[in-house]
Subunit: 225 residues, 2 copies
């Protein structure tokens, strides 16, 4: 089975924003409320942050429980790790993900500024100054034969799509608008030249967009060459 | 995480039949054509029997790739193993599933007639004369902390539903009618007193029915007592 590079459970507003404006330490999503944007995930039985029993086992749960299925490494942009810009001034602060991050694999954080790797429980964060293609190569090598998840944020996902590196893209459109922030797309059909595209409304009110690479696209040749 | 008992990718016709009439060695589904009934599975990239690259990564593939996710044992009725009735007369014939069965776990075959266990690659078939509740208990114990799949056929699934043993039920309604055979249900809302029920049309033409136990149902108390 060939390794794939996947985007999963990546949630955007109806106007295409995956995060709001003015990210700060206290507000990783800026003016956007992650509780509202991500409500579909929190309501599933399989959400890793769930602290009480219960939750839906419906369609949304199938996506949520596929999050770790066959994934051996994650790549994320620096802004998914923390709000700092420029050189790292505080090595004591180890990211937004707490003592037991939900990744359980190596995670490659893209940044122009070097910093030593950090291990928290079974997740190790490596900091990488690399192009999307080089980061993909390193993550695939670290994934132990499994797939690589590109976790976000929107600029990072977009740069991997634009580089033709994404095999599968699962984007969830939540029933809210944000009006500003960082966009994944202006409209959901933006990548249809390169991807098959299914569009599945969920009873929860979100719409699951499932995109997978068209077999004859030039991007595929680029990746397999 | 509590162990669950799940039915997955169980496919029926629009009139509720999961298999046709007159099962024989050559025709495990009787007059029904499994290639037609199960077409949605064969078209996915994750179908275990796929011999060529390609296949869909859309909604149907999410269900197909969840087939083995977190499953540690399967329970099946005798007719899913082979067409024989009564005492086993031929121990040389080891079932319909070939040298490398797609289960990769212990499989408990319900039969009133004893026969020694059979190991084929990483699947071991055990033959069990037991009630659904006793079979469930043995399969849960063998599943190494993971979930148990009730694999079919329709009478077996039905008997586990009727015994209140099923936590999750995923039934796929294919766009064909069979007019006869063995039914799972007469109509898809038949279990709605006991299960939450989502109904998700797929672009492939099938409809995915996802049912999960209502939390306050008497069946749950029965299982957890």
């Amino acid at each position: 089975m060939a390794q794939r590079i996947r985007v999963q459970n990546f949630t955007v507003s109806q106007d295409g924003y995956a995060t709001g404006e003015d990210q700060t330490l206290e507000r990783p999503f800026g003016h956007a409320d992650p509780g509202e944007l991500m409500a579909w995930r929190f309501d599933t039985a399989s959400f890793p942050g769930r602290t009480e029993p219960g939750g839906s086992r419906g369609l949304d749960d199938y996506f949520e429980r596929d999050f770790a299925n066959g994934i051996g490494a994650e790549i994320m942009g620096r802004n998914k790790f923390g709000p700092q810009r420029g050189p790292w001034s505080d090595h004591e602060w180890v990211g937004w993900w707490g003592d037991t991050p939900p990744f359980h694999t190596p995670v490659f954080v893209l940044t122009h500024h070097h910093r030593p790797s950090i291990t928290l429980a079974d997740t190790t964060f490596h900091f990488l100054d690399a192009t999307p293609a080089d980061a993909a190569e390193q993550a695939l090598a670290a994934a132990n034969g499994l797939d690589v998840r590109v976790g976000g944020g929107p600029s990072t996902v977009r740069s991997f799509v634009d580089a033709g590196l994404i095999d599968e893209l699962h984007v969830v459109v939540a029933p809210i608008t944000l009006g500003g922030g960082v966009r994944l797309w202006e409209s959901a059909d933006e990548f249809d030249d390169r991807f098959h595209h299914e569009n599945i409304p969920s009873p929860s009110g979100v719409t699951h967009h499932i995109l997978w690479r068209k077999e004859s696209s030039p991007e595929q040749e680029q990746v397999t060459s």
